[in-house]
């Protein structure tokens, strides 16, 4: 998901820390760092960094099996053998070249945040590729230790790694671990603590002499130009300049035009000698180096065929893959619906009794009565409507995410998604969108181009989130039955497809296409899955629930002071056009605050049972309008950060008009049916 982690916009790191103690501390104050060792986890996507993080930090981080999902970083205070330390989990990056927001942010972090020990986490089963990042990190000249994670996976693949040999070659501690089973994690942090005192510096490993010479020459030039204040070694800067890294070029060349000329000249010389662009030369140099290191420390034997390998034969199959995709999504929704329904029914009865008991002693029609009544309704609405649906849904989603299903779904859907102008990768925000639009809009960051992000965000805001799902299920599903609810989903899907198709025609752009790692299947661990579910649930509890209660109180107050007429009058053009009772106007207006309020407010405005006040046709019109119209306030907030003011306004206006149009259409259709 990620991108599913909250609190970060497209650029700039923001501290994301759920525990209060960490939130109240400044992000980095020199004084604190002087007292407390600061450990930083860094590694390629899916290497299990976040699993390690969660192992020691408890329920404090979002981890995801999707490359690039953790764009914001997570911080937590941990204790190693009784010593308090600070642990930071950086987003996964393939290399230190800033090609996407995640790696740019990582570079920025490494550049100006205090770090005592860098913990480079490596997926041991793909050691060869992972070492390419390690080689770049070693150039940073920050005390570093290496964690060979997923040793069990490597063993299964028949890769036996000589950790001691690796440690000798690099000159830094190497700790084998299997974080998913908690193995080696304790040892890792003990070593990290030791490293914060001993400060092991990695040995420089040189590549071919001719390339190394060019880098040396440029790095001397870099030194002359002065890199004062920069954490990076001149060697690293020189390498990155030859690689034409946008971040480094921007950072160093603008200030030093002389250096720029030299970098260009040396780069051109390198290109001439090797007949390839200088970045390709450096890259293949690093690749060759890591492969030879890999061969030196690893023995490859016959892999054990595992159920994980067989699973893809079905789940990524050209036919069965799609069947299972539909089945998995259906199962997810079916479970949510069933479980939610069951719990809701069980809870709702008791809660309404509680509300009555609470207000019985009060004087009816008094202000206090209205206030308490509203608050109790909001509270009950939160417990009985949101939690039963949201909890199983978020849990299911986290399970799929942690198992590694999402990239596979993206793979399957890419062909189809391309037809409607989206990348297969966009299936992630789309699926997340069925939970909540807020993390879904945030997760569009995994898409590369601004255009794709805009189209995906647009689509996501129109997807019925869990809040709108409660309206679909609670109103249509309850009164008109399952098939009608399904119909609303289908209509919604159709409109989304038409919209994205139209947008992609309007905004033509060369499509570079999918480039996505498909990670090995993983058994989700309860610790990580629950941590993630809890984080998302907490967002709802902390943000949505108070709003729900506040909105509920506002509504009863509106009723108490008879403001309802004013709001209803304001919304009258819409309700008149849609053929809805005027009393629905307030509901629609306040529904923008949080859409899960809609059903609750509808009941308050009209009184239940709803089928005595609304015809089935009107219910359908109401639902269709609520599903499509203006995204909720929180979604508008993240949209603004993601795509800017103009595009956000465009989305808001479009969704409003389309909702009006479709609502009207349904109204006309209902005349014919009735």
């Amino acid at each position: 998901m990620d991108g599913a982690s909250p609190g970060t916009s497209g650029c700039g790191l923001r501290m994301k820390s759920p525990d209060k103690a960490a939130r109240n501390r400044p992000a980095s104050s020199g004084k604190r760092v002087g007292q407390q060792p600061q450990f930083v986890l860094i590694g390629q996507p899916n290497c299990g960094k976040s699993t390690i993080f969660n192992e020691v930090a408890g329920y404090r981080s979002l981890t995801s099996n999707f490359p690039g999902a953790t764009v914001s970083y997570t911080e937590s205070r941990i204790s190693v053998d009784g010593r308090p330390c600070n642990l930071i989990d950086l987003p996964g990056v393939y290399s230190l070249t800033s090609l996407d927001p995640a790696s740019t942010e990582t570079q920025r972090f490494l550049l100006d945040k205090p770090i005592h020990v860098l913990i480079n986490v490596i997926d041991a089963s793909i050691l060869g590729r992972s070492l390419e990042l390690t080689l770049q990190l070693m150039d940073l000249e920050i005390p570093m230790i290496l964690c060979l994670n997923m040793m069990d996976e490597a063993k299964r693949k028949g890769i036996l790694i000589d950790a001691k040999r690796l440690s000798v070659l690099f000159g830094i501690p190497v700790i084998p671990a299997t974080a998913s089973k908690g193995k080696g994690v304790q040892d890792l942090f003990r070593q990290a603590l030791k490293a914060s005192v001993r400060k092991p510096k990695a040995r420089h490993i040189a590549g071919h002499r001719d390339v190394e010479k060019v880098i040396e020459r440029l790095s001397r030039r870099v030194e002359k130009a002065g890199t004062a204040g920069s954490r990076f070694s001149s060697h690293l800067i020189a390498t990155k300049l030859l690689e034409k890294d946008p971040y480094f070029s921007d950072h160093f060349l603008r200030k030093h035009p002389g250096l720029a000329a030299e970098a260009k000249r040396l780069g051109a010389a390198l290109e001439k000698d090797h007949g390839r662009p200088s970045d390709a030369v450096i890259n293949s140099e690093r690749h060759a180096l890591s492969m030879s290191l890999y061969e030196e420390v690893a023995q490859v034997r016959k892999p054990v065929i595992h159920w994980k390998d067989r699973l893809d034969n079905v789940l990524m199959h050209n036919f069965w893959g799609f069947v299972s995709l539909v089945l998995i999504l259906f199962l997810l929704f079916f479970t949510v619906f069933k479980a939610g329904n069951w719990v809701e029914n069980a809870l709702l009865g008791r809660l309404s009794g509680f509300g009555e008991w609470l207000t019985r002693s009060m004087e009816p029609r008094s202000l206090l009565h209205s206030l308490v009544r509203g608050a109790a309704d909001g509270l009950a609405g939160g417990i009985a409507i949101i939690l039963p649906y949201l909890l199983p849904f978020l849990l299911g989603l986290s399970l799929l995410e942690d198992a590694g299903y999402l990239p596979r779904a993206a793979f399957l859907m890419d062909g189809l998604m391309h037809r409607v102008g989206l990348h297969g990768t966009a299936v992630i925000p789309v699926v997340l969108g069925y939970g909540c639009s807020v993390p879904a809009v945030m997760s569009t960051r995994i898409l590369e181009s601004r255009r794709d992000r805009f189209i995906a965000s647009f689509a996501v805001t129109m997807i019925p989130c869990a809040a709108r799902m409660t309206v679909i299920f609670g109103l249509i599903g309850y009164y008109l039955g399952g098939p009608a609810a399904f119909g609303v989903y289908m209509l919604n899907l159709l409109v989304i497809l038409l919209t994205t198709g139209f947008l992609s025609r309007m905004l033509p752009e060369s499509v570079p296409g999918m480039l996505l790692e498909i990670p090995v299947w993983q058994m989700p661990t309860w610790k990580v899955t629950w941590a993630k579910t809890w984080m998302r649930l907490k967002e709802f509890i902390v943000i949505a629930w108070p709003l729900l209660i506040a909105g509920s109180v506002i509504l009863t107050l509106t009723d108490h002071f008879n403001w309802t007429g004013i709001f209803n009058g304001l919304a009258r053009p819409v309700t008149w056009l849609l053929g809805l009772p005027a009393a629905v106007g307030t509901t629609l207006l306040f529904g923008v605050l949080r859409k899960e309020l809609s059903l609750l407010m509808l009941q308050q405005a009209l009184g239940s049972p709803l089928d005595s006040v609304l015809s089935y046709g009107q219910m359908m019109v109401f639902t269709v309008f609520v599903v499509f119209y203006v995204p909720c306030v929180a979604t508008i907030g993240v949209l603004y950060r993601q795509v800017g003011v103009k595009k956000t306004l465009l989305i808001v206006l479009y969704t409003f008009l389309i909702a009006l149009f479709l609502g009207f259409l349904v109204r006309i259709a209902s005349w014919f049916i009735a």
Binding site: I126, G128, D279, A280, F319, G513, L515, E517, I518
Partner: protein
């Protein structure tokens, strides 16, 4: 594009196995150094491969 491929472990001269072609002009799944990578058609088109034992990117 080349740098991105490099990051995911695909380099010139590497051996890669095409595992799966997705339906409906979907991406291609290749296995390289034991890692599965999905390549969209637009990306895959830019990779020239030689059949037999050795394939080069």
């Amino acid at each position: 594009m080349r740098q991105r491929l490099n990051q995911l472990g695909i380099h010139e001269g590497d051996v890669l196995i095409v595992q799966r072609c997705c339906a409906m002009r979907g991406p291609i799944l290749v296995r390289i150094h034991g890692v599965g990578v999905a390549l969209g058609r637009g990306v895959a088109r830019h990779i020239r491969v030689r059949p037999q034992d050795e394939k080069s990117g």
